[in-house]
Symmetry: C2
């Protein structure tokens, strides 16, 4: 059985699905906006990761928001982001991100 959280999709598949360059995914990772499983050096993403990334892309390219704003909204556990994006998807990231980003930014 595979759940939303199973990290099983390699980066190229995710990049193709989202229509982005794989380097864009590395870029988001630098901001702790996604955290794929590392098996050796290879990265594996879950369905929840993919939904989350899709959501981020929409915020950016349909709404015109920037990465920093998305991070700010997550840190504030804000209604804007929480309401639009399904709970189960957000839940995978908000705690991680709040912790992570508070450190280095």
């Amino acid at each position: 059985m595979f759940s939303e959280e199973d990290k099983s999709y390699p980066i190229e598949l995710v990049a193709d699905f989202l229509g982005v360059n794989s380097r864009t995914l590395y870029y988001y990772e630098k901001f702790a906006l996604v955290c794929p499983l590392r098996r050796g050096r290879k990265r594996y993403y879950s369905k929840a990761d993919i939904k989350w990334l899709k959501f981020i892309r929409e915020m950016m390219y349909e709404q015109g928001m920037n990465l920093r704003s998305i991070i700010v909204l997550i840190r504030r556990r804000d209604q804007v982001i929480m309401n639009i994006c399904p709970d189960d998807v957000v839940d995978c990231f908000k705690n991680y991100l709040v912790k992570k980003v508070d450190q280095d930014w």
Copy 2:
């Protein structure tokens, strides 16, 4: 008696106070983020305008948010923006902006 909403401050004074170029204020006006009173061609800003602009600058330069994100938050009458910025200041803009920006964007 002068209230928060009295539009009486010329652009250079506002720009100096905020530490920005007056052209930045024209720029914000293009996005309907502020709406000074026009007497002839001259622009006059209120204290509420000034507070509002100061708030926008902080969102941008302390949080790293962009203009589009601020507009998105206002349109959603969102908690992030509404909680930080005093009610009386926000109230001057949100209805105006929601109406205005819905049209052209």
